[in-house]
Amino acid sequence: MMGKKKDTFLNMTLSLIGITLVAGLSLGYVNDLTVGPKAKAKLEKKLNALKLVLPEFDNSPVEDIQMVKSSVVKDSVEIYPAFHKNSFVGAAVIGSTEKGFSGLIKIMVGFAANGDMLTIEVLEQKETPGLGTKIKNDSFIDQFRGKNPETYNLKVKKDGGDVDALTGATITSRAFGEAAQLAYEEFEKNKESLKSLKN
């Protein structure tokens, strides 16, 4: 080994201070560089999901976001209203539950103005790969499309509802239905106030 510095207290302190200083500065610099793109990526993801679940709209649902308090979940529920030519066409509601097989499941449900579910996007989940993760598949989501939770029971068939549970993932399917039910309840509760937003 060549020219190693001696193990004196001063040398050790100085070299560690030097390294941490350089590391800290460069991390701060990279953080500055990435903070913008990070926020943009998050927003884009949200916008893409909104475009998928909402009917055609010409307002900015992200700017018109309504946060409503709910007794069921910890955080407030996010509602993104959609307007087309100033009339209310529907809203996307974030439904979430902690009762997934591995905790949090977060979905975005798109409702038409009359409460029909348009489609559902899964935003966050940690379910078992190959079993619970199938809630993302079209073949599972399809059974919700165009249904109105007023007449369509969002419980799984095992619990007396209308939802065909995924094989091997009843808990996940149950949680999914619960999250959708929560979204529907919040939508119904806030429908009138949403409509008056643009009048």
Binding site: M1, M2, G3, K4, K5, K6, D7, T8, N11, M12, S15, L16, G18, I19, T20, A23, S26, L27, V30, N31, L33, T34, V35, G36, P37, K38, A41, K42, K45, T128, P129, G130, L131, N137, D138, S139
Partner: protein, 179 residues
């Protein structure tokens, strides 16, 4: 020696793409830390070299994490907790300590590239095997229907060990034949 550093990555190789992403992230950290360690090695007193190496490695891992989150959010979500865990991957600290701290920059770069590429190939291969058997697809390209029954076991953690074991058997067979 061949299996050095495989442990924390078994969890992410559930698909070929994830394996590739994890491999490339590790390759980058390994390369950068090898370069920096070989540059500053003469300035670091022997007694504090390990903490110094860890700070260097952790910095690069954090950079990778921030860059991934900003520019490849899809991959960032898939890899999740396993990116920060690159810090404790013994492969990187092992090469910093065993090689880069004793050799010049050029050979450290070559060492990192060799080790890193091997790691990328191993992870991608492992991911590919698990994805083909477990999801019936390769690099997200599906060759069986969405609802077909696949060996779900292979995308669960135990499948990682089984796949890794069989790949090691194959590898040993090949390497004993050629020597």
């Amino acid at each position: 020696m061949m299996l050095l550093g495989m442990c924390p990555t078994l969890g992410v190789t559930s698909s070929a793409f994830n394996g590739l992403g994890m491999g490339v992230a590790t390759l980058f950290v390994l390369l950068m830390s090898n370069i920096v360690v070989s540059l500053v090695k003469s300035q670091i007193p022997g007694k504090v070299r390990i903490p110094a190496f860890i700070i260097i490695i952790a910095s690069f891992v954090t950079i990778v994490e921030m860059v991934l989150e900003a520019f490849i959010p899809f991959l960032y979500e898939q890899l999740g907790i396993f990116i920060p865990l690159i810090v404790v991957n013994c492969l990187i600290l092992g090469r910093a300590e065993a090689f880069a701290s004793k050799n010049n920059i050029l050979s450290s770069i070559l060492d990192a590239l060799g080790m890193g590429l091997g790691f990328v190939i191993a992870l991608t291969l492992l991911g590919a095997v698990r994805e083909i058997l477990g999801s019936g697809s390769i690099f997200e390209f599906r060759f069986v229907s969405e609802n077909a029954n696949t060996f779900i076991l292979f995308i669960l953690p135990p499948g990682a060990f089984i796949a890794l074991a069989y790949l090691s058997v194959l590898f040993n067979k090949i390497s004993t034949k050629t020597t």
